[in-house]
C-alpha cells in the first residue's frame, strides 16, 4: 500500500494514496452560512462542487496566516474508488470532499503495513493509529470517522 503524507503545523499525517483523487493548489472557497467551523465552505473543481474540511480546525489549531496558502487534497468518491481500494475495504464518501492542509509532503510505499494503535493520550475521534516509515511516524487519519464526525456535527448544527 502507498500512503500520502501531509503536514499540519509541522505534524505529519497520512492517508492511503488510493483515497486521493488529486492534489491541487488552494482554490477560491465559497463560504456557506451556518456551517460548522471545521468546514471552510465549498470549492468548484472542474465543475464539481466539493465540501472543504479544514484539517487545522479539526485539530483545534488556529487558521494559518494569509501568507501561507496551504494545499488541498481532493478525496475519491465512493464511485471513483478503484477495485484495489474496495478490496482493502477503504471507505469513501459519495460526494467530493476536499481536505485543506498546510502542505502535502510525499508518497511512501509501505512494506510493513502494520498500523499501531494511537497512543492513549490521543483522543481525536478520527485518528486510526500511528504508522512508521523508516524513522518517521505518521498519524493515520480515518477518513470514515473524519467525515462522519464533521458531517454529522454539521447535520446537528443545521437542526
Amino acid at each position: 500500500m502507498q500512503i500520502s503524507t501531509f503536514l499540519i503545523q509541522s505534524e505529519a499525517f497520512a492517508l492511503p494514496s488510493l483515497l486521493v483523487e488529486e492534489y491541487f493548489r488552494p482554490l477560491p472557497i465559497t463560504k456557506v452560512p451556518g456551517s460548522n467551523p471545521r468546514i471552510d465552505g465549498l470549492v468548484n473543481i472542474r465543475g464539481r462542487t466539493a465540501v472543504v474540511i479544514n484539517m487545522r480546525h479539526c485539530f483545534g489549531i488556529p487558521r494559518m496566516s494569509d501568507s501561507c496558502a496551504g494545499e488541498m487534497i481532493l478525496l475519491e468518491t465512493s464511485q471513483g474508488l478503484v477495485d484495489e481500494a474496495r478490496e482493502l475495504g477503504l471507505y469513501a464518501f459519495e460526494e467530493p470532499i476536499v481536505l485543506s492542509v498546510d502542505s502535502i509532503s510525499q508518497i511512501h510505499h509501505l512494506v510493513d503495513e502494520e498500523i499501531h494503535p494511537a497512543p492513549p493520550h490521543v483522543n481525536q475521534p478520527f485518528v486510526d493509529g500511528v504508522i512508521q516509515v523508516e524513522q518517521l511516524y505518521f498519524t493515520m487519519i480515518s477518513i470514515q470517522k473524519l467525515i462522519e464526525t464533521v458531517l454529522h456535527s454539521r447535520a446537528q448544527d443545521t437542526k
Binding site: Q2, S4, S17, L18, V20, E21, E22, Y23, F24, R25, E71, V82, D83, E84, I104, Q106, I107
Partner: protein
C-alpha cells in the same frame, strides 16, 4: 556593463565575468532540466503501452506535457535569475564604489574650503601688514643709503691717505676693511634677509666704526654707517616678528609644508618653517605662478590655488593657496602676498589609502587602486605611486575623463593586466568652494565584485527573514515567490502522477520511476534556484553592510576633520595680540579691543556659538557674544574642565577639549563642545600662562548636519526611509542622533560587542535589534586626523530591515 536591462544584452554563461562557481551551478541545473525531456518521452511511451483506455493515455500524456512546459519555464527562469543576480550586484557595486570615489574627492574639497578661509584670514593679520609696510619702505630707501654709504667710504678711504687716525692699524688694514664693507653694497637683499650675511656685515661695520671713531672728521661716514645699520636692524626685527607669527600658525596648522610672506615684487620676507628659512628668505618667487596669481587677485577675499612641485619655497607636492596682502593705510594697495603650501601629497595619501580593503598585514589589497586626476587628466595623487604614477596622464576610458561636476561613471577595463572595474566621481566643490575640477577614481578587480558568496553567512538573521526584508529588491522577492511556486507546482504534478499510477495497479508500476525522476529534477532545480536567491540576498546584505560601514566611517572622519580644524584654530587664536594685551593690562580700551577681535573672528566662523576669554583667575573678561552668557559680569569658569586643562598646559601649541555637554556659559541647556588654548604673556612661546581662550563649538548643529549627509540613499539618490545615524561618546552614550525618538540623546544603546570593541579607525557591521525594530548597522571608531587624536567617539548608521 555586462548585463543591461535591455533585452539584447541578456545573461550569457560565456561572459568572462561569470564566476566558475556559477558556471558549474548553471551547468548542473541545465543538465537536470535537459534530462526532463527524455523522461517525459519515456513516460508517454509507457502510457501508450500500459493504457487500457484512450482517456488513461491522454491523462498521462497531458501530465508529461505539463512537466515539459514546466521544465522549459524553469530553464528560462534560471537564466533570468542569473541575469538579476549579476545586474543587482553590478548595480549595487556601482552605487557603493561611485559613492566611495565621491566621498574621497568630497573630503579633499571640504579640506580645501577650510584652506581658502585660512589663507584669507591670515593675510589680514596686522603683524604681517605692519612688517611688510616697513620692509617695503626701508627696501626702497636702502638702495640710496647703500649707494651713499659707498660714496662716503670712498671719500673716507681717500682721507686716510693723510694719517689722521690714532690707531695701530696699518693703512692697508683699514683700506681692506673699507673695501670689505663697501663690498656689501650690491648685496642688499642678502643684507636684509640673510641672517649670516647680515651678521658678517654687522661685525665688519662695528670694527670699522670703532677704528673710524678714533679719527677726526669721520663723523659723516660714521653717521652713514649707523643709518644703514639702523635700517637693517629694523628690517631684521620685522622679519623675525613675521617669521615668529608664521611659525605660530604653522605649529597650529600642521597640514602646511610652509607659509611665506613676500613683497609685491616677489621677494620672500618671512616663512614658517625654520629649517628652510635660510634657503627661502630674500629669494625671489616672482616667476612662480602662485605668486603671479596672488598679485593679480583683487582684494583680501580673493585667492588663488595652484599645484606645484618645483617652488623655490618647497620642492614637495604642494597646493599653494595664495592671496594678496593689502595696505592698511592706503586702500587697495597691494603690498605683498601670502602663500600657504598645503601638503597635498600627505593629504592625498591619507584619503586615498583610506576606504580600501586591507590584507591581514594591513596593506591595501592587490588590484585595488585609488587616485585623483586634475582637469587635464594628470594624476595628482595615488594610493600606490609605484603603479599609478603621480604626474602621469591617467589611462582611463573616455567617459571617465569627460565627467561633469558631481557626475559619476563606471566601466570595465584592464588595469595593470587585471580585469577591473573603474568607478569615478568628479568633484562638485563644497559650499563656497567651487572645486578644482578634479576627479576621484577607484579601481576594483572585477572578480571581487562578482565573487561567490555561497558560504556567506551573517549572524543574527535567517535567510527567510532576510528574503522578506526591505533590503531585497521587489524583483528578487517576486522571483523568490515564483521559484517557490514552481517548486510547489512540480511537486503537485508529480505527486498526482504517482497517485494516478498507483491506481493503475500493476500497470502503473512502470510509471513510478518516471514520476520519481521528475520530482527529483524539479526539487533539484528549484532548490538550486532558491540557493542562488539566498546567495543573492546575502550578497545584497553584505554590500549593504559594507555601505553602512563606509557611511559610518565617513561620518566619523568628517567629524574628526572638523574637530581637527577646531583644535588648529583655537591654538592660533590663543596667540592673538589683542588677547594677551587685554589680559596683561585689562584697561577698558584693551578689553574692548579684545571683544572686537573675538567678534571679528567669530563672524567668519559660523560654527562657534561663542569665544570666551578668561583671565588666570577664571573670570570671563571678554567674549565674542557676551549677550549669550548668563550674568556676564559675574561669569566664572574656574571650575570648568576646559579652563583648568589649559591653565595647566605646559608647552606652547597645546589645546584642551571638554567633551560634549551642557555648560553654565550657555542659556538653556544647549550642548557645546569646548576647545581651549592657553594665552601666554606677550604671546611668546615660553611665556607664562596668563589666561585661557575657550571656543564653544555648536556641536548639535554641526554634528547634525554631518549625520544627515551620511544617511544612506537609494540608487536614485533619495534618502532611505527609517535610517538613523548617531554619534556615541567613548562611553557609548549617544551625543547626537538623527532620530531622537528611537535613539534618544543621552541614552546608551545596547550595542553588540563587535560594535563596541572597535580599535581606532576600525569598522564593523551586522544585524542590530533595538526594541521591536530590526536594523543592519555599520559602526566606525574615530582614528583622529593628523595630530588630532580624536575623542574615542564612534559613528553608527542604522538601516531598517522591515
Amino acid at each position: 556593463m555586462i548585463v543591461d536591462q535591455k533585452a539584447e544584452n541578456k545573461f550569457s554563461i560565456f561572459n568572462s565575468l561569470i564566476t566558475n562557481d556559477h558556471r558549474e551551478f548553471y551547468e548542473k541545473i541545465i543538465n537536470e532540466l535537459i534530462g526532463v525531456s527524455p523522461i517525459c518521452n519515456q513516460g508517454k511511451c509507457t502510457a501508450a503501452a500500459i493504457s487500457e483506455t484512450a482517456t488513461e493515455q491522454e491523462q498521462i500524456t497531458e501530465l508529461m506535457e505539463r512537466v515539459e512546459t514546466f521544465a522549459a519555464e524553469l530553464h528560462d527562469g534560471t537564466k533570468n535569475l542569473f541575469d538579476q543576480f549579476y545586474a543587482a550586484k553590478e548595480d549595487f557595486c556601482r552605487s557603493i564604489y561611485c559613492t566611495t570615489a565621491y566621498i574621497k574627492i568630497n573630503l579633499i574639497d571640504r579640506t580645501l574650503l577650510e584652506r581658502t578661509c585660512d589663507v584669507r584670514s591670515w593675510a589680514v593679520e596686522t603683524a604681517f601688514t605692519t612688517a611688510l609696510e616697513r620692509i617695503n619702505k626701508i627696501n626702497k630707501s636702502l638702495d640710496k643709503l647703500l649707494f651713499e654709504m659707498g660714496e662716503y667710504l670712498d671719500a673716507a678711504k681717500a682721507a686716510f691717505e693723510v694719517p689722521t687716525l690714532e690707531t695701530n692699524w696699518t693703512m692697508k688694514d683699514i683700506g681692506q676693511f673699507v673695501d670689505d664693507v663697501r663690498g656689501f653694497q650690491p648685496r642688499k637683499l642678502e643684507l636684509m634677509f640673510n641672517q649670516s650675511v647680515y651678521q658678517q656685515f654687522k661685525s665688519k661695520v662695528e670694527t670699522l666704526s670703532e677704528q673710524l671713531g678714533k679719527g677726526k672728521s669721520q663723523e659723516a661716514t660714521l653717521g652713514m654707517l649707523q643709518k644703514v645699520m639702523k635700517s637693517l636692524e629694523e628690517v631684521h626685527q620685522h622679519v623675525a616678528a613675521a617669521c615668529d607669527r608664521l611659525e605660530d600658525i604653522g605649529s597650529s596648522y600642521t597640514l602646511y609644508r610652509d607659509l611665506v610672506i613676500t613683497t609685491s615684487d616677489g621677494t620672500v620676507v618671512a616663512n614658517a618653517n625654520p629649517a628652510r628659512r635660510a634657503n627661502v628668505l630674500g629669494h625671489s618667487v616672482a616667476e612662480e605662478t602662485w605668486f603671479k596669481r596672488a598679485q593679480d587677485s583683487g582684494d583680501a577675499n580673493d585667492y588663488a590655488i595652484e599645484k606645484t612641485n618645483q617652488s623655490r619655497v618647497d620642492a614637495g607636492d604642494s597646493l599653494v593657496f595664495s592671496t594678496s596682502i593689502q595696505s592698511t593705510t592706503k586702500n587697495d594697495q597691494t603690498i605683498g602676498t601670502m602663500g600657504a603650501f598645503f601638503d597635498l601629497a600627505e593629504e592625498a595619501k591619507i584619503i586615498l589609502q583610506d576606504y580600501m580593503p586591507r590584507t591581514e598585514d594591513g596593506d591595501t589589497r592587490d588590484g585595488w587602486y585609488s587616485f585623483f586626476t586634475d582637469s587635464s587628466g594628470r594624476i595628482v595623487g595615488s594610493s600606490d605611486p609605484d603603479i599609478i604614477g603621480v604626474g602621469e596622464q591617467a589611462h582611463l576610458p573616455r567617459g571617465h575623463r569627460k565627467l561633469k561636476s558631481g557626475g559619476t561613471i563606471s566601466s570595465y577595463a584592464s588595469i595593470e593586466g587585471n580585469d577591473s572595474a573603474i568607478f569615478s566621481a568628479m568633484s562638485d566643490g563644497y559650499l563656497d568652494f567651487a572645486g578644482l575640477g578634479w576627479s576621484s577614481h577607484l579601481i576594483v578587480p572585477s572578480n571581487e565584485i562578482f565573487a561567490s558568496e555561497a558560504n556567506c553567512q551573517v549572524n543574527g538573521i535567517s535567510p527567510d527573514e532576510l528574503m522578506r526584508s526591505k533590503l531585497i529588491p521587489e524583483i528578487n522577492k517576486d522571483t523568490y515567490v515564483k521559484v517557490q511556486d514552481d517548486k510547489q507546482s512540480i511537486k503537485l504534478i508529480s505527486l498526482n502522477g504517482i497517485v494516478f499510477a498507483s491506481k493503475l495497479g500493476k500497470r502503473g508500476v512502470a510509471l513510478g520511476p518516471v514520476f520519481e525522476q521528475i520530482t527529483e529534477t524539479g526539487d533539484f532545480a528549484t532548490s538550486k534556484m532558491e540557493e542562488l536567491l539566498r546567495e543573492m540576498a546575502f550578497g545584497e546584505l553584505r554590500l549593504n553592510l559594507q555601505t553602512l560601514e563606509t557611511f559610518s566611517k565617513q561620518a566619523i572622519d568628517l567629524i574628526d576633520r572638523n574637530l581637527f580644524e577646531r583644535s588648529a584654530a583655537i591654538r592660533w587664536w590663543a596667540t592673538d595680540k589683542f588677547l594677551w594685551q587685554a589680559l596683561a593690562d585689562p584697561s577698558e580700551e584693551n578689553l574692548q579691543a579684545a571683544n572686537r577681535r573675538l567678534r571679528d573672528i567669530n563672524s567668519s566662523y559660523a560654527m562657534y556659538r561663542n569665544l570666551v576669554l578668561s583671565n588666570r583667575m577664571g573670570r570671563v573678561v571678554a567674549a565674542s557674544n557676551p549677550e549669550l552668557i548668563p550674568d556676564i559680569k559675574d561669569a566664572r569658569v574656574a571650575d570648568h574642565p576646559w579652563f583648568n586643562k589649559s591653565m595647566r598646559s605646559k608647552t606652547f601649541g597645546e589645546y584642551a577639549v571638554q567633551d560634549v555637554g551642557a555648560t553654565e556659559l550657555e542659556r538653556g541647556s544647549r550642548s557645546s563642545l569646548i576647545y581651549s588654548g592657553a594665552v601666554r604673556a606677550s604671546g611668546s612661546r615660553n611665556g607664562e600662562v596668563i589666561g585661557v581662550l575657550g571656543s564653544l563649538f555648536d556641536w548639535v548643529t554641526e554634528s547634525g548636519k554631518i549625520l544627515k549627509t551620511c544617511l544612506p540613499k537609494d540608487r536614485n539618490g533619495k534618502r532611505i526611509q527609517g535610517c538613523i545615524a548617531f554619534y556615541a561618546s567613548r562611553d557609548f552614550e549617544v551625543i547626537e542622533t538623527s532620530d531622537g525618538q528611537i535613539v534618544p540623546l543621552g541614552s546608551t544603546p545596547d550595542l553588540p560587542p563587535e560594535h563596541r570593541e572597535l580599535a581606532a579607525g576600525q569598522s564593523a557591521s551586522g544585524v542590530f535589534r533595538l526594541g521591536e525594530h530590526v536594523y543592519i548597522m555599520g559602526s566606525s571608531r574615530s582614528k583622529g586626523y593628523r595630530e588630532y587624536q580624536g575623542l574615542g567617539w564612534s559613528a553608527h548608521i542604522l538601516r531598517p530591515l522591515f
